[in-house]
Symmetry: C2
Subunit: 364 residues, 2 copies
């Protein structure tokens, strides 16, 4: 079989150590399944700044285009804050999203049965929670022009950013959300702020239009972003798939993740458009940050990284059985009582990054 080309970008902070555990799973798959991986490693974020003085090199973008998928660790070490706005570690992920056209960020917020008590919410409010947030990631206020800080004649300065959404950008991410809903509970809630923003007004109109034209079988509702922030706390299980813009998606998906009480457990996928050659660029990363405070100590939770690999198998390689296998192995290891520090609770066995990774592979 032709080997599957993966670009592996561990990043900074805990990135490299958790990526190590995902590699174990890759090795297991090569040994036990009819698949081989052609792995290319490279530096991004703080690691790239240290070596090359930039958060990401153009060469890395080219390697990403040449791969079947990108497995990403994490970036954002604040020790690089001084290098300036256009060289911050985060540029690595923003540039990958933009250059590869990775417009649909899929972020599951799922409560693991074994970890219901890790949530700050009452167990009866979050048990069984399983939301999928689809966040637009190459448009909106993250990238709109004009932007910057300008100085007026009188010395006043103005910080400016522009939210822009086109009908096409809204339509394609809405389609991803509706498609996902069909494989889940068949409900999509579209989130904007159409009562104060025209970009939200257009968002709502286009999502409705796509629904009426092509997804009439899916239940569609609309919610204002402020109300959504509240509803996620009041009764998060009312949601199945949420679809929203870049900025609202940033806040709401982090909020939804925290509801689960297990940030270190949650993966994400970011998908681009299917290309003429049939390939679809895609990047998989944990939703948590690079946690520089615990980096290098071997205590970080590798589960989000391992589950990101499971999403890669599911969405880029159509290896559903193997994705299921990994997810089941994670659930079993948790049920057996193993815990990294971030999810530790009384009566459980506290283990480090490597022991957790090994246990999951053994369980497979």
């Amino acid at each position: 079989k032709t080997p599957i080309k993966l670009l592996v970008l561990p990043g900074d902070g805990v990135g490299p150590e958790i990526m190590q555990e995902a590699s174990r799973v890759l090795a297991w798959l090569e040994k036990n399944r009819d698949v081989t991986f052609d792995l290319t490693y490279d530096l991004v974020g703080g690691a790239s700044l240290a070596e090359y003085g930039v958060p990401i090199r153009d060469e890395v973008i080219e390697k990403a285009w040449a791969s079947d998928a990108v497995l990403f660790g994490s970036v954002g070490d604040p020790k690089w804050a001084h290098v300036g706005f256009d060289k911050r570690p985060e540029i690595a992920i923003l540039k990958l999203r933009q250059e590869l056209g990775l417009f649909a960020n899929l972020r599951p917020a799922k409560v693991f049965d074994a970890l219901v008590d890790a949530s700050t919410l009452r167990p009866e409010v979050v048990r069984g929670l399983d939301i999928m947030i689809v966040r637009e990631t190459v448009g909106g206020i993250y990238f709109g022009e004009p932007r910057g800080i300008e100085t007026l004649a009188d010395g006043t300065r103005r910080g400016i950013n522009t939210e822009v959404y086109t009908t096409g950008e809204i339509e394609r991410v809405a389609r991803v959300a509706f498609d996902l809903a069909r494989k889940r509970s068949n409900r999509v809630c579209s989130v904007e702020k159409c009562n104060v923003m025209e970009s939200g007004l257009l968002w709502k109109e286009v999502v409705t239009d796509v629904h009426d034209r092509a997804f009439k079988d899916v239940e569609l509702s609309h919610m204002l972003a402020d109300n959504c922030a509240m509803q996620l706390v009041r009764n998060p299980r009312q949601f199945d798939v949420l679809v929203t813009g870049n900025l609202f998606g940033d806040l709401l998906s982090d909020l939804a993740s925290m509801l689960t009480g297990s940030l270190g457990m949650l993966p994400s996928a970011t998908l681009g458009a299917v290309q003429e050659n049939g390939k679809r660029p895609a990047l998989y990363e944990p939703i948590h940050g690079s946690a520089p405070d615990i980096a290098g100590q071997g205590v970080a939770n590798p589960i989000a990284q391992i589950l990101s690999l499971a999403m890669l198998l599911r969405y880029s390689l159509d290896m559903q059985a193997e994705a299921d296998l990994i997810e089941q192995a994670v659930a079993n290891v948790l049920a057996s009582g193993l815990r990294t520090a971030d999810i530790m609770s009384e009566g459980m066995a506290r283990v480090g990054t490597a022991v957790m990774g090994e246990a999951i592979v053994r369980e497979m």
Copy 2:
């Protein structure tokens, strides 16, 4: 004594019924304290649309300028959604903020001891919670130009909104936050998204600068908005005063309110700049919406409206003792077991809007 001029704007939905209960408190104050009120009532939101075809008349803005403070109910009845973006009921509140320069929205998120169990969060996470969110309300993406929906030559449409913050706008709201912190736990956390937005970069810089120049005794920290959404769920009691822009403030303050489990209980104040005549325009309103689904049934919770009046006494009239008295009366009535439907729990006595209002006045 010269009567205090109040403009009373009940709005639509439950607005009029809960305002009725605030009026009871005003009447009590006139009878039992050395104060008289000169009350002017007018229509806004859905009520104004029904009568005049517009969400607010210029005349109402003039009356607001002529008053010592505005007591506002709620607007937003969705039955007016069809009238179009520039005539929606919400315009009433947006225009009042903008025309009166009401730039600092103070939103306390406080957990009442008697209502700890109304929160979806675990009691040990929220007991004693007392946050004050200071949200900028006349700038940012709500009002920035250019804005609108444009059609390109190829038929594509683009929705556009612009976030703009000037040094002056940031400085004045930061000062309000630092001043408030001094009367509380002396800590301010400033929230933006400076890792992707230049307007956030400027925000952070100006807040830091104001701090270093004039408020060095107050503890200042900075947090990204997505992280803040998470931290509010993970450990809300870490915060004292939060200061943020219009859009982040909209989501984060609603989120913080919901943590308390008693949305129907929370008031807000929105303050403008002190004028040459020494007056400071100010508007007081419940944070909840107009809840058209329960309007007219006499079941809405009047406490947020009554506590909004308490904030009016505190911030516009410097009647601290009377504000304390109202707040204590509310706490006592709750402790006695009276509950409106929204905060009802087992073993408590369910009452309607009027009975709750009467009970609070009696307790005073």
